[in-house]
């Protein structure tokens, strides 16, 4: 309940339309500022989501000792999968054809290498994983969305592998790519709920080993059986000193990467703060101009009996309306133009995400700009003397 008579709501709305040029310019400035906030927030959300959905809590990576921070440098013996399957009862299994047990253990050769695509003279750095069909047992998020599982000389490409290579549309099913001195036909495309796997190119393990003249593996990925724990695998690796193996929970591996990208996230939030700060100053400038140009009008309102607080509130209403409209426009542009846009980074690629959090941050910043930007000019208007105001030119 207000203790004073406010100006009619329509008065503030009409005022915006009385000066369409100024209102449009302010709206454009606010929209741009809020759009920038949206883009940065979508970047942060995309990166965070990419790393948080990467890593299955039931999956353990077994790699060479000391390679926990970079499995690309890991090298373990080719027989490691069979050894682990035979030694660890804690690995998930299910009955297979012919009474054999299907073990949820995936031998993988993983590396970053130059990948050439059709129509591009220069190769780009891509992430390649040599896999067997067991990979689909362990990597439960992977779903083939187009084509089929790769046969000899074929490769399966992740949804964001093109973005990682800097050539978003270059990887089409049926096309040819080259890496490790061989040509590979693209057999299909896969998605993995936005995880880091989507930036990769998968090919048959044996083919990749032959192309690279290697017999070793980078890692073995295991799915734990219900009731089993990471400690089971860790204990085995610690006991078998001769194998020089190390176990890392996949979730912990990506959590470490998330920590690694902490400074990037902090910097991005700082950019949000700086952009919002710049927006506040721009808003202040505009609203000061609006108040200065309406001194006589505001004084007249006082002579008509409106309290200064009511006039200040009306000014804030105008700013808040503009800010809300700007936020709405910015949100629409962000969703239409930026949501889902792929961004390349060292570990792969991720998509900008204009999700609920990004919308809350963007619109919240917009409304904050409107309220804070209008406050000092509104306070100034409250200090205005009636006689001085009426005499103002």
């Amino acid at each position: 309940m207000l203790l004073f008579r406010p100006l009619p709501w329509e008065y503030g709305v009409r005022n915006l339309l009385r000066r369409p040029g100024r209102s449009l310019l302010t709206l454009a400035a606010l929209t741009l500022v809020v759009l920038l906030v949206f883009v940065v927030a979508a970047f942060i959300r995309g990166l965070e989501t990419n790393l948080s959905v990467s890593g299955d809590p039931d999956v353990v990576l077994v790699h060479s000792l000391g390679a926990s921070e970079n499995v690309e440098n890991s090298s373990v013996a080719g027989r490691t999968r069979d050894l682990l399957a035979a030694s660890l009862p804690g690995i998930r299994r299910r009955p297979g054809a012919g009474g054999e047990q299907v073990v949820y253990a995936s031998s993988e050769l993983y590396l970053g290498t130059d990948v050439g695509t059709q129509g591009q003279a220069e190769p780009a750095l891509g992430l390649v994983r040599g896999v067997t069909p067991s990979a689909l047992l362990v990597r439960r998020k992977v779903q083939i969305v187009e084509g089929h599982w790769p046969g000899p000389g074929e490769a399966l490409v992740g949804r964001l592998a093109g973005a990682k290579l800097g050539r978003a549309d270059s990887l089409v099913v049926g096309g040819v790519i080259t890496f490790e001195g061989r040509s590979w036909r693209v057999a299909g495309r896969f998605a993995a709920v936005g995880s880091a796997l989507e930036s990769e190119l998968w090919c048959p393990l044996e083919d990749l080993q032959q192309a690279m003249k290697r017999q070793d593996l980078s890692l073995v990925a295991l799915t734990l059986a219900p009731g089993a724990g990471f400690g089971d695998v860790d204990e085995f690796c610690k006991e078998r000193l001769d194998l020089e193996l190390q176990a890392t929970a996949e979730a912990a591996y990506y959590a470490a990467l998330r920590k690694h990208y902490g400074p990037v996230r902090a910097l991005a939030w700082l950019v949000v703060g700086l952009v919002a700060g710049a927006g506040v100053f721009a808003g202040l400038n505009t609203m000061y101009g609006a108040v200065a140009g309406r001194t006589r009008e505001l004084a007249t309102l006082q002579t008509l009996g409106y309290a200064r607080r009511a006039i200040a509130l009306s000014l804030m209403q105008e700013a808040a309306l503009l800010a809300a409209a700007g936020s709405l426009l910015a949100a629409i542009v962000a969703v239409v133009a930026f949501n889902g846009v792929a961004v390349r980074f060292t570990m792969g690629a991720f998509t900008l995400r204009v999700d609920g959090v990004a919308v809350a941050v963007g619109c919240g910043t917009g409304l904050f700009l409107g309220a804070v930007g209008a406050l000092p000019p509104a306070l100034r208007a409250m200090r205005l003397g009636v006689a001085d105001g009426l005499k103002a030119v």
């Binding site: 000792l65 204990e235 610690k238 006991e239 001769d242 190390q246």
Partner: protein, 175 residues
């Protein structure tokens, strides 16, 4: 003058109190052990402890052994969630004990050749009455930390690859 002296003595007293409060006494090795861990911690050092290198040469599967070594051998020498860890022969110097080394994880012995280090390591597992590894992190159970020198009493478990695991029944933290 009297007032000045009163204030001075108050400040000196406050300073002494602050210094006393701020000074932390170095925790004795193993002092952070849990109640469950107390039964595995020995109050006196068992006699006849041998180094890891010597034990790896001599011990056979099932032998009762007393072994001395320092906790380390990798950045994470602990078995996660279990009372198990690696120890390294005491003849090896940790990285921080070597000149011009600013390694932040000196217990990983990264300044030694990996193949030599691998031969000087043993796995210690503190086991319960059923022979199962105690399902509590060794740091919590026994209050030990990296580079502690421990004397372990237990049964040797050997395999044809030369690996040595001690199924420990008791442990004395020397330093």
């Amino acid at each position: 003058m009297m007032r000045y002296a009163k204030w001075s003595s108050f400040l000196v007293l406050a300073g002494l109190l602050a210094a006393g409060c701020g000074k932390e006494e170095a925790a004795a090795p193993g002092s952070g052990a849990s109640a469950d861990g107390a039964k595995y911690l020995l109050t006196a050092e068992p006699a006849g402890a041998k180094g890891v290198l010597e034990t790896r040469k001599e011990a056979k599967d099932g032998d009762e052994v007393v072994l001395v070594g320092r906790i380390g051998g990798s950045k994470k020498p602990w078995v996660e969630g279990r009372a198990g860890f690696w120890i390294v022969d005491a003849s090896f110097k940790a990285c921080n004990e070597k000149a011009d080394d600013d390694c932040t994880t000196p217990w990983d012995y990264c300044c030694d050749p990996p193949e030599e280090l691998a031969k000087a390591k043993a796995t210690v597992k503190v086991v319960d009455d059923n022979g199962q590894t105690v399902p509590v992190d060794a740091r919590q159970l026994l209050g030990v930390k990296e580079l502690n020198t421990v004397v372990v009493k237990g049964r040797a478990k050997r395999d044809d690859k030369g690996n040595l695991t001690i199924l420990a029944s008791g442990l004395f933290v020397r330093s």
